[in-house]
Symmetry: C2
Subunit: 480 residues, 2 copies
């Protein structure tokens, strides 16, 4: 990673993007003009102007940080993205592929041939290759493995072996190890001899003869302690370490909790395997927050802003078909009461209010429970208290808002009994929503499913169906 | 912050919580028993057992990291939370208050008197005091200001002056500065004399006579370069810096993009004010992701898992009243067509399908747009392409899923025309949803409102009302 950072603020980034976009617009304009006029002379002019524009684009891209080029690529539609990507120097391809989102990476890789992909991958560290490997064609990975030396091949294979969302998939192998029996003076000389240290390095790992980690030596201790002291005397023996199969989100919580910059990753015997750094954790936290938000709406990261219509539509179908199925069932619940609705059409106008508010309050409960589950705050011991509290809130809300909608219905239709049914149905559906809002995410969690994703559909299904059933059922019993 | 970390994994954390919970359960059991039997002798026994249990609880808490105690406090209902909080040693109060969520912090502070609050605050750094200041009573802050020395008071006042979500509110003042004209040898000796360095320190700030920052000296360069070289020769002059009024989320993006551990914060003249560290950024990213998720369901961070029923209910009212208002309006749209529904009650059963699927697809578009806006990827130049793409996806989905629901309605009610109306209404409402899904968040963003929060209500309102209107309107025109 380079230390050269000409510009860093979002405003500057947007200015870069705007410059690239206006260059691209200029190129489109020239093309359009020439296409309209035709003729060999214009072709020549076009070629010349086009070449000048391309050269300007290349110069612009050369001044930018890989992460900034990644940002620009994300913001461009497919055809322009390809054009810009072709102007990026081959030796920067790897770093940029690392920075873009999964979907944009796929779109870029589709435009590259095998030789280009190999060159891009070879410019990266093994843990970085592992990050982009899922998007690389199988034959490229095979060929890569044959070109790496034995240690790197082992690293790559081990990084590829760990499932996504584990520490093993996030770790890298850039660390500095040292023995406990040398002095700090020796350690300092050793570092100077190394010449360059990895980024995000805030401590050395102290290992024994068998490569088992027995302590860590924070650089700040190295810098402030007596150079004559031994590493053993200065090192910290009580430190946070991870195993490669640990869940990434738990490691991220440990980084937050203990303000870590890096931590060792060890195997079951305590042998040093790699390290986890805060930049990998920060990227992970951001990406999983993004992925959560998208998947709550039923999207995967397979889609970017400018994916093709076909690809985007397919990405949304699974979700739509699930929602359609639940909507069909809720529709059949209403179908049961078509006779009542024919007699009193006001029921049809009022029933979505009961169902809708039930869905809203239930989703509030879900949001609290999902967060509590993610932070590990909900246990067997306190679940009962939660149910009591949420039922209390639902009762209070049911009395207050049930009265509001009841009075509304009464005044609107000049029908006291209808108002009463409305109020009672609201109270009952809010109680249903509270119970569903607790039990649905907790059951999904127990079944090892992600409660953030499925809960909302199941809840809305419950509050819709039950809302219609309760309201139309009560109305049929009491009004007709 | 301590280097002592006995336990760090989530499993261990949950084990700690379980131990505390079982201790609390034991205490409740003893109380219940004695209350049932009564009598002075039992009182004595109770007192003894109770004291033993409390002592055990205190011992347990003493072994835990402040962040871990914070986690346990979050997971306990109000009464047990207070009991545990009272057993925490006073000198640790400050650190723990820093770690808990806003709502739990409020509940803890409510149980403390002025002297306890002052003692807790005085154990913290000024930037940390600023973090908890919004929850402290005014008179405590006044008194704190009088007890601090001039520099600390200035720090605290400046930290309090910057609005939440700016770099100024996240920065701290623990940095090491050095002059450019000394050698690295001198710098190393200076650090050794300091004795202890701040956490998360990966570089020294090189300042001139006027405290203007002219470069940074990464510790890794200090460690690996020739000690005879001057700071000026080794320092990096092209580095990321922030201003205190910069938005925190843009700074967080820069930390992600450039893999920063810390960066200087400077005023308009380039004078050094403080520093921003990756641990503050990581906390910020996590907290704002959490807050986003809660506020999408209409909750604020004012509520924790065990807030009182009254407090929780109030926290949810604003959202419910907004949703109720939009549901009323949608209900009136249906009211317009009560005549049609009386004639064909099937309309009442089918209309929620049109409205619901419109809401689902619109929310998918919103999720993409909100993410694109947050990452600054949506610009004037590409907005038109986005509209074209989303309309394309809506048309494709409308044809596919419109046919499905059309055939469903046709078969169910043995009415081809009804199926046709259903299919056409679905297509039209998906187009409405796509347009609303783009324009609502983009308009909110232009109005400087958070598109993540308001978009979904407005969208559901649009797709419900328009869905009912399109479907019932078409049915009235074509079927009746």
């Amino acid at each position: 990673m380079t230390d050269t950072l000409e510009n860093q603020s979002q405003d500057n980034l947007e200015a870069h993007l705007a410059q690239v976009q206006s260059l691209l617009a200029k190129m489109r304009l020239v093309e359009d003009l020439v296409h309209k006029q035709g003729g060999p002379r214009q072709d020549l002019v076009e070629n010349l102007v086009h070449k000048q524009n391309l050269a300007e684009l290349r110069r612009k891209l050369e001044t930018l940080h890989p992460a900034d080029i990644a940002y620009i690529l994300e913001a461009l539609p497919l055809d322009e993205r390809k054009l810009v990507w072709d102007q990026v120097k081959a030796e920067r391809d790897g770093e940029i592929l690392l920075e873009v989102s999964d979907s944009v990476r796929e779109s870029l890789i589709r435009t590259m041939d095998k030789a280009e992909l190999l060159a891009a991958a070879e410019s990266l560290d093994t843990d970085e290759i592992a990050d982009i490997a899922p998007d690389l064609p199988k034959d490229v990975i095979q060929e890569l493995l044959t070109t790496l030396d034995a240690q790197k091949r082992a690293h790559l294979q081990s990084a590829l072996a760990y499932p996504e969302d584990t520490v093993g998939a996030l770790m890298d192998f850039e660390m500095v190890t040292i023995r406990a029996d040398v002095t700090l003076e020796v350690a300092l000389r050793y570092l100077r001899r190394l010449g360059e240290l990895p980024d995000q390095l805030d401590k050395l790992f102290v290992v024994d003869r068998d490569d088992r980690i027995i302590g860590v030596l924070p650089l700040k201790r190295l810098l402030t302690s007596d150079p004559e002291a031994s590493v053993a005397a200065v090192m910290v023996e009580d430190f946070v370490k991870f195993h490669p199969e640990d869940e990434a989100h738990e490691a991220a919580q440990a980084f937050e909790r203990y303000d870590l910059v890096m931590a060792p990753v060890v195997d079951a015997q305590g042998r040093l395997l790699g390290r986890l750094t805060v930049d990998a954790v920060l990227d992970y936290v951001r990406e999983s927050a993004d992925a959560d938000m998208l998947s709550m709406a039923g999207l995967t990261e397979e889609e970017d802003l400018f994916s093709s219509v076909w690809r985007s539509a397919k990405n949304r179908w699974m979700w739509l078909s699930i929602n359609l199925a639940t909507a069909f069932i809720a529709s059949r619940v209403i179908g049961l009461f078509e006779g009542s609705i024919e007699k009193l059409a006001a029921l049809a106008a009022l029933m979505p209010i009961i169902a809708g508010i039930g869905g809203n309050t239930g989703n509030q409960t879900i949001a609290l429970i999902v967060r509590g589950l993610a932070l590990g705050q909900i246990t067997h011991a306190n679940a009962r208290r939660l149910v009591v509290k949420e039922l209390g809130v639902a009762t209070l809300n049911g009395l207050v808002w049930g009265s509001v909608v009841g009075v509304f219905a009464w005044l609107l239709y000049d029908n006291v009994a209808l108002g009463g049914v409305m109020a009672l149905a609201m109270l009952l559906n809010l109680l249903v929503a509270a119970l569903a809002g607790i039990f649905i995410p907790m059951t999904l969690e127990k079944m090892k499913r992600d409660p953030a994703i499925g809960s909302s559909v199941l809840l809305t299904f419950t509050t819709d169906s039950m809302g219609f059933f309760i309201f139309l059922g009560l109305a049929t019993l009491l009004l007709l």
